[in-house]
Symmetry: C2
């Protein structure tokens, strides 16, 4: 029979235990923080009708939706979810009064994007998103809560120094008006500004020219954003700039409210206004924010979100306010790796129970069963084999200890425990081995 | 703007917190048992090339693979995974020496099947599979380990009475030979036998006739299976039957080995040979098994699996023995619901922190923050509002307690805690409230 090439779908990843174990720990830590803030888990299907997915993300993003070869061209055509926010909006509209508002939910599931596979740049076609949203709360206290929760989650993951940059869509719109940019040109201009952390201010200028803005406008835009960001009080600078022309400054007032609520929640630092910070997606309507790591500026944002008061209304017919965040577990994992905080354990087992010989196989099985019953995770070598091979397996597996019952130990009712890091071997009662392994990393 | 109908893709489900909370608890319990047996987590992408997916499951199953509208008709055509076993085989073949054998892994991820949506019968187009496999162990001790682990997992979930029915593909083949059924007719006949728990022995007979077997053969097959199952020692009956004709009885010997290993691991009951038990999928080659619940016979199997020594070889070019199990989390969840073991909590929050009025909103926020810092999950009402409305929200949310700081409490540095089940309200220091809520369900 011909062999099938075991090709993995381009742009996707397999996760072996040495990646999965720290990822599961990370996810558990984030979930625990979400739960403390009253957020509960939800899951939605991977497949959604195209009528649900389309017209929400903007033209460029929409091209990246994977569609199924299933009832194509009919109203039942369907595709894979692109994010977790549109499915949440669909869910809230579906369940109606089945969930009381405000509805605080988190959702940790994969999303799919038909990117050209640029694995080197960390763009994958499948990745896990981790979202938390508060639906049905118009108060800026909800935005503050989400920001406080993101900081708590990052702190729980060992990143207490993360800084949350905030901005407001209405501030950005008012600044565009100040610059004389028409509402229809606004998204295009903001998309250039959004690239600043990757290409720098000069790069933004080049982008603006390339996108068709005049050199004059490019200069005034860069000047405005640079002066605002460089001011000792950027929010006051923006407020003064907008008020001087009679432009809408409600965005400033709302950000001040967010900061005051954060203060009441005990978050007195690590959150600041950054006029350069623009979130890409079309559906945001109010405050937007991103968490970054001053220690690793090249990482980009570890989490980001904002208020999207219009999205659920697309499904429901009446507006429902909502604010949420996506925590970038992949990036956080990479950041923790670069900071040397990922242990790299490739198994949760604390020991390999080796098999001395065929006659002592039942002893090995009983020993493994007893250790498991005591709650100690162990892997049993599944058959009699050369001991050297079993020890080599143990060290490749990544366990520190090997437990062995030879004829002597069997007779005395003891077990031998070998520490692979030191080479020491000790004979002891099973209860002592249990205690030793319980305490081991 | 016209409203988009919030339709959920037919045959799929949304999971709200009241389902997700017990599901997450269930999953965590199963993972903990898997870890105790030395099984570590793995994840693979949802999308696999069709060249990987096709030719593994049998004709009927293959029709149920969802394909993507992406490079159709090319070697890069792809679809959604149908199970977790074929992706595991592909993974093991891809990573080569990157994982030492035996490789014990578990994987808990959704799979997709393009079923006609028969939601009433519990057939969904997307459902979570929970697999554990031991790859690279030919010894029957690995089969015994998987069976012991399934029993431990079911016991951990509160189902210690589950019984594991075992059979062996070689026993079934030998019985087919005994009946004079050709190897090419074998799968068709076994598929009829497989339906016995749903349609009964008479139903199997009808199926056999419908599928084109002669009345004589139908009668002898039913007679053989009925006599074997009804014998006081079905395994001895089968062994005697096969030996009397000089037919292959190695399946019997292997099942005896499995039972002996189980005995050594302390599993002395709850596992029995059942000649009627046939697993559907084509790739099994050795022992097969299913866990059922005598208390709820109509539920069908809660978990099932077996040995598939040929599958990985399709990708690798040399055979790698493997044995595994799929734990049916959906069915187990339904079983636990029917047994009244699902709590039905719709939030993990232990209290709602209500907002007395605008002036006391900061007090509410500080109180919520302090409770969270102490590890107590609480939801904060996000704005001042009528208290009656906030209390109604609390009871709809499903929390037992409401914590409130009014003017009196604010002045004295106390909080009021109302128990919604009794209506009692008490004023106390925050530390007492923390302790009370910590102890609450």
């Amino acid at each position: 029979m011909s062999v099938v090439r075991p090709r993995r779908f381009s742009g996707t990843r397999d996760f072996l235990p040495r990646e999965m174990i720290p990822r599961e720990e990370m996810t558990a830590a984030v979930k625990a923080v979400f739960a403390r803030f009253g957020y509960d888990p939800v899951e939605t299907p991977a497949i959604e009708y195209l009528s649900v997915l389309k017209g929400k993300y903007g033209e460029d993003a929409e091209k990246l939706i994977y569609t199924l070869d299933y009832k194509r061209g009919t109203p039942d055509a369907a595709g894979l979810r692109y994010d977790l926010t549109v499915p949440l909006a669909r869910l809230v509209a579906s369940v109606g009064d089945d969930v009381p508002l405000p509805f605080r939910r988190y959702q940790i599931q994969p999303v799919w994007r038909a990117e050209r596979a640029q694995v080197r740049q960390g763009r994958y076609r499948e990745f896990v998103q981790c979202d938390a949203d508060c639906v049905g709360a118009a108060s800026m206290a909800a935005d503050a809560e989400i920001i406080a929760m993101v900081r708590a989650a990052l702190a729980e993951l060992g990143l207490p120094n993360a800084v949350v940059l905030v901005n407001h869509r209405r501030i950005l719109s008012a600044l565009m008006e100040y610059l004389g940019v028409s509402p229809s040109d606004e998204p295009r201009l903001l998309r250039c500004v959004d690239k600043r952390d990757k290409v720098g201010a000069d790069g933004v200028r080049a982008e603006l020219l390339k996108t068709g803005f005049s050199p004059d406008l490019a200069d005034s835009a860069l000047d405005l954003f640079t002066r605002a960001a460089g001011d000792s009080d950027p929010l006051a600078f923006v407020e003064h700039t907008l008020s001087s022309r009679g432009l809408d400054a409600t965005g400033v007032a709302e950000l001040r409210e967010v900061l005051a609520h954060l203060d009441d929640m005990g978050v007195t630092q690590g959150v600041r206004f950054d006029p350069w910070m623009v979130r890409g997606l079309d559906y945001y309507t109010g405050p937007v924010f991103e968490a970054v790591l001053p220690d690793l500026p090249h990482m980009g944002s570890l989490a980001g979100g904002g208020r999207y008061d219009g999205l659920i209304g697309l499904f429901l017919g009446r507006d429902v306010p909502a604010v949420g965040v996506t925590v970038g577990l992949d990036r956080i994992f990479t950041a923790l790796e670069q900071l040397g905080r990922i242990s790299g354990r490739s198994t949760r087992a604390k020991a390999l129970v080796a098999v001395f010989d065929a006659e002592r196989f039942p002893h090995a099985q009983r020993t493994a069963a007893a250790l498991r019953d005591a709650g100690v995770p162990v892997a049993l070598y599944p058959a009699p084999d050369r001991l050297k091979k079993q020890f080599r397996y143990a060290s490749r597996l990544g366990v520190r200890y090997v437990v062995l019952v030879g004829p002597d130990e069997a007779e005395k009712g003891l077990v031998a425990v070998k520490d692979l890091t030191t080479g020491d071997q000790q004979t002891m009662p099973l209860e002592d081995a249990t205690r030793l392994l319980e305490k081991a990393d």
